[in-house]
Symmetry: C2
Subunit: 645 residues, 2 copies
């Protein structure tokens, strides 16, 4: 019996390996095809769209091509007990076997459970998406944010992400409720569908995906502000949507199954939203700052890039785990951790670690993303409880369209009152058109497919994702040319800031930003970019400031005026799927000052990055390679070596 | 009920997150301490030893410090059925819950299962080690092999790894059998202990760990041949030990429980060993070659480093899965895949991908290794079925010592008959002393702790690992100076080969190597290093050879005579934990020819690597950075740009 049991476990392990192999083969195929597309400069189908197509094909084959006979090892025994513990010990003729709870199965599933062994095998636990695949994607989104343009458009981005998503959620929820009511009248509804379900649907399809469109934007070098608006919105509204949907689930009126409106429950939901969001935000930012502190100059961790990278990876991962352990949302925490890491920690890392971390998360993001999209394709055929209801689907497409419109147009109108560079109507149309749905929408909808309402939502969501990725994603290039959006814009050209004159620190921090008072004092402490604290704090705090400022911050600050004749390149963390640096502009140095003080501050942080970036190019140690002596010294009087100490 | 159930699942998820967080915190702490040690140049305790100490401390705290009360959610229900299927459906008052089989539990465990919730929570499924943690470690070992010295000592390494491990296994097995017999006489044995168990113990403690000692060797730059011998032996004997142990388990005489010797069963075991080993070997090499082909010049994949890296990662992973799905040993396949990737694919990759893949696997290796070692420390207190038997432990330490001696000394004596540069007695003593036991031994011993014999083995193995890592690992520096081993040796200085004269290809391939006939024809096809096929194949095969040889191989071959005055650096894939390049010699170019033709071939392959390596240092594109125009052209007449095409 023991032997048989071992054999069974082995067999199941071998099958698992084979199933995982199917996905790896799928990914490999996708990569090879992407390469072919890139090679031939074929731009109409993005890699995610491609991954979905391959997934679909495999799904068809698994569903109709392969018939796995009923598995004798997997027989089902019914055993009557009066509770469902997490661990079950089963006594089989004197031997005890341990079973762990996997989940509830609806009664109508039971008959099917055994028939489609193969389809069941390639089905992942939905929690895999939230705990393994989404975190690297979301972290990468935060880490690869182009900070300067993001913070310049922060107000608008927050408006779109928070108000916009809530508006979209409620508009879609209302329309769907109307649709469901109509369906009930016509007799097309085979199960219960409450208003909270409609709102939940609104929340999950309000999460727009940054991947597909922005890859194209990046390649075409679309206007940086449009890019920042769309990217910032997509990234943040994922966070809003996930918290919003969990708050809606938490909405539970006093009478357990009444599903009617109740003010206290509504307030409670709102409280949950605020609590979870701010908790996740705080956690993410906190871990980012702790990492920045650990990797700052006070420790000399930067001499060991491997340790640094490992630490960076572990700290970012622990944000996720910490948030989950505290009952917050790990994905949201990871997003803000990524933004904080990009803003503070990145500047502290050694050049090698900067490359390593970027490349590592780029790779993880690439793999996770393509995996999710090919799984999405697969699910259309492998999922066994699809409910495709034509009326619901038509209603949903209409609602998604109207919801997006109700988000973008009114908010843009409002925002344009306050903005100096207005969001033009062509920008608005592009934003309207580019609201693709992707990984987050899918992950949220597959998380719970137990009820009839949820199954119908899942099927409809899949179709929405397919449509938006293929049609909207494929039509982006046409849309851009149709709307006469500038392409081929170097994102840094129009913002070149004088480095010739060091602006007075008062002026530098005069506007509210992420780094404004009191945050402005954080950056010089956490990194060694930015003006030293001695310049920004009042004179009375002199000794404290000197103690908290690293020698390098002094150096950078005091050396800057002499850099006068050096042209500079601007390195930004790349969001480009092909791994090439996204933008590396050559802004000629001009004596003119820009009026945007904020720009200066943010660009200033990046300048520091460039100075370090050059270390990668110039071999500076004698051990660096045989060619080193043949190289001339750096062109300016800057002694880059002193940076390393 | 459904709500409660969801809540239970959520709670269990939160606990899992918290437990994983403990390990992440442990790793973070380890990294910070390692950094401190490296910073202070403290060399007596390696990071793995440190990780174990931290693990021990956490184990003590969990065991004696935290008392988690009996968990009400985890109650155990006994339910009598007559089989143990992989999936169990439990009918709880009309609702069906799905349970999955976790494993058998021995009767005496049942009483304890509930008491130590916390300890149970931090216990991983042993298969995690084999399927998640070991593969990156082993792959990295293969990928970071210093190929030149490895292949030069291949014969000796194979002898130590195959014959040595088998000798060690049987010697230890015999001694332990004697010890067990004695214990039975004295009445110290509380359960069954068969001869096969003894042999199994011999197999698992014969796997030596390459990590700790070699990190020190690397840092001190110990003699390259000694390094190659020890590293090669440690890496390969892991593979031998894992297959050997599974063959011993497969040894089953006709009468199921007789455990006596039987010739046919022995033969069957031997067949299993050969089949599994050669199958895994073939699979690993095959995947490596396929990857090399895909990333070769015929496809222009190297223009997209991200795709290339992703492909490399997926192919290497699929080796593991494929081997497991076929019933071979994934870890062994991954080892040979790594060696093949380093030998063939690495040369095809773009410089960026070379760095990326190295760094990626370095990071994975670092994390996995430290995780295993800290888990090892933890297990000493968290594992609940330890059987510490003083007699068995003393016997085991003696047996391990004698087993290692019976491996090294007689084999060295034999090998010295055939070797030109003899393995000196001081080398032999160091090899004897450096036989640390580590991750593989641990993973093999924790895989099955169901019986009394296995539990006793596991406890003893833990102690052996602790002792060897702390004492032998810590004493390596002393041992080296005591044995008067040369340190600070540049591994390439004594092997500098003339590139001024291109040796005749006949002479080049005159000795049997990995790349000897017919393998020699493989390398020019799979990579574009090495002499073109047109030079190595007979004249009649001219057209075929021209067709199979990439234009770059021609270029390299025909250009070499002109490189005459260029000094060269030798880059090897780094095995250094700190991420720095392991060895980068500056061999001055001399006109003298070395007598080792093999050296030339291997160095030749690495020369190609260097030429490409310089591309990292020299900015060659206009987009590369603002400083590019200021740099002089490369010192030699080589047009490096043409490499890229």
């Amino acid at each position: 019996n023991e032997k048989l049991m071992l054999y069974k476990l082995q067999l199941s392990h071998r099958q698992d390996s084979a199933n995982l192999l199917v996905f790896i083969a799928l990914l490999t195929l996708t990569i090879l095809t992407i390469w072919l597309f890139k090679h031939r400069r074929f731009r109409f189908l993005h890699e995610t769209g491609l991954a979905m197509i391959y997934g679909l094909l495999v799904g068809v084959v698994l569903r109709y091509g392969i018939h796995v006979p009923r598995d004798i090892n997997n027989m089902t025994l019914s055993c009557l007990v009066n509770a469902s513990p997490a661990t079950l010990l089963v006594n089989v003729s004197g031997k005890f076997y341990e079973y762990t709870l996997k989940g509830e199965i609806s009664a109508n599933e039971i008959s099917e459970v055994q028939d489609n062994e193969m389809l069941r095998k390639v089905t992942f636990d939905p929690e895999v998406f939230f705990n393994i695949l989404l975190p690297p994607i979301i972290f990468h989104a935060g880490y690869s944010l182009k900070r300067r343009h993001f913070f310049r458009n922060l107000g608008s981005i927050l408006a779109y992400a928070f108000m916009g998503t809530v508006i979209s959620c409620f508009v879609i929820g209302m329309i769907m409720y109307g649709c469901v009511m109509l369906m009930k009248e016509v007799g097309q509804l085979a199960g219960e569908f409450f208003f909270t379900d409609c709102l939940f649907f609104g929340a999950i399809v309000s999460a727009t995906d940054p991947v597909t469109v922005l890859a194209i934007f990046n390649e075409l070098q679309v206007d940086a502000d449009l890019y920042a608006l769309l990217f910032g919105e997509s990234v943040l509204n994922d966070a809003v949507a996930i918290v919003l949907s969990s708050s809606i689930v938490a909405y539970q009126p006093a009478g357990d199954n009444s599903h009617t409106f109740e003010a206290t429950a509504m307030l409670k939901s709102f409280g949950v939203f605020l609590g979870v969001f701010s908790g996740s935000f705080a956690l993410g930012v906190a871990t980012g700052i702790v990492t920045a502190l650990i990797s700052s100059d006070f420790t000399k961790l930067r001499d060991f890039p491997l340790l640094e990278t490992a630490l960076f990876f572990l700290m970012s991962w622990s944000t996720f785990l910490l948030a989950e352990a505290c009952g917050f949302t790990g994905v949201v925490a990871v997003l803000f951790c990524g933004i904080t890491q990009a803003h503070y920690t990145y500047n502290n890392l050694s050049p090698e670690s900067q490359d390593r971390t970027k490349q590592l998360f780029e790779l993880l993001n690439f793999l996770a993303e393509n995996f999710i999209f090919s799984y999405m394709g697969l699910t259309l055929f492998s999922f066994q409880y699809h409910v495709f209801n034509p009326m619901f689907i038509i209603g949903a497409f209409l609602a998604v369209f109207l919801g997006r419109a109700a988000n973008i147009y009114p908010l843009s109108l409002l925002l344009n009152f306050g903005r100096r560079n207005k969001i033009g109507s062509n920008f608005q149309h592009v934003m309207m058109f580019s609201g693709l749905r992707g990984a987050m929408t899918f992950a949220l909808s597959i998380r719970d497919t137990a009820t009839y309402a949820r199954q119908m939502m899942f099927s409809t969501t899949l179709l929405i994702v397919f449509f938006t990725v293929w049609v909207c994603g494929g039509g982006t290039t046409q849309m851009l040319s149709c709307m006469r959006i500038r392409v081929g814009v170097d994102s840094d050209q129009d913002n070149s800031v004088s480095r010739g004159q060091h602006p007075s620190s008062k002026h530098l921090y005069s506007r509210w930003t992420f780094d404004s008072n009191p945050f402005s004092y954080l950056k010089p402490i956490l990194t060694h970019s930015g003006p030293p604290l001695t310049a920004t704090l009042p004179a009375c705090c002199g000794p404290l400031a000197r103690c908290l400022t690293s020698p390098q911050a002094y150096e950078v600050s005091f050396r800057l005026p002499s850099v006068g004749t050096l042209t500079y390149g601007d390195v930004t963390v790349s969001a480009d799927a092909s791994g090439a640096r996204a933008s590396r502009g050559l802004g000629p140095l001009c004596g003119v000052t820009s009026d945007e003080a904020l720009d200066r501050e943010l660009a200033f942080g990046e300048q520091e990055l460039v100075i370090r970036g050059t270390r990668l190019v110039l071999p500076m140690d004698d051990s660096e390679g045989p060619l080193a002596p043949a190289l001339p010294p750096p062109p300016s009087g800057l002694d880059l070596r002193r940076h390393r100490e």
